[in-house]
């Protein structure tokens, strides 16, 4: 069974602070995705990273794929209350399905 560990499990910070959340595995991935899920809704795709060492930016969010393609991080600069949600990473399996991590639940306090 492939494992995808996300840390921290919970994170509560003040508005304006920076944060980083992590997604780690012992397996090598062809690609990795990050989703955000707000309460009562389904996950929404934020980004897909494919190349080892790749860095992608989405406004205040910076996504990095590890050089060995086994891990990824999401950094948020100057967090806003609208960033509150569950952040999930996922990789595509050999059967072309998605396997999700357990998520990091972020709360940004105004």
């Amino acid at each position: 069974t492939q494992l995808l560990e996300q840390s921290p499990q919970f994170l509560s910070i003040q508005e304006g602070e920076n944060l980083t959340v992590y997604c780690n595995s012992s397996s090598v991935f062809s690609s990795l995705q990050w989703y955000r899920q707000e309460p009562g809704e389904g996950p929404v795709l934020l980004v897909t990273v494919v190349t080892g060492g790749e860095v992608k930016k989405l406004k205040r969010l910076t996504f990095q794929f590890g050089d060995a393609r086994k891990d990824s991080s999401l950094h948020i600069t100057a967090a806003q209350p609208g960033d509150t949600g569950l952040y999930l990473c996922a990789f595509r399996t050999g059967a072309n399905n998605l396997f999700f991590g357990t998520g990091t639940r972020l709360t940004v306090i105004p």
């Binding site: 897909t48 595509r92 072309n96 399905n97 396997f99």
Partner: protein, 111 residues
Amino acid sequence: DAGITQSPRHKVTETGTPVTLRCHQTENHRYMYWYRQDPGHGLRLIHYSYGVKDTDKGEVSDGYSVSRSKTEDFLLTLESATSSQTSVYFCATRETEETQYFGPGTRLLVL
């Protein structure tokens, strides 16, 4: 947004009763998926479909069956609901290999 609706959005049922959840999409996507989401487990794949009448099992398929008679509809059936099937169920469709869209979810409580 891939025009995915799920029904019902909330359901309470009793152990041993059959339950069917419906997923409807308007984008004509070939692939459709059913996931369940539980605390500490993230999203886990139950079943998926790669075309009309073409389905396959996912990670946690025991106790569930699916049917897809039309491109736009994917049904998930719990033949005899158990308390362990209390969960939030999400339907998803796939536009490309890297793009999945999720529905709003169905919250199911089995008493």
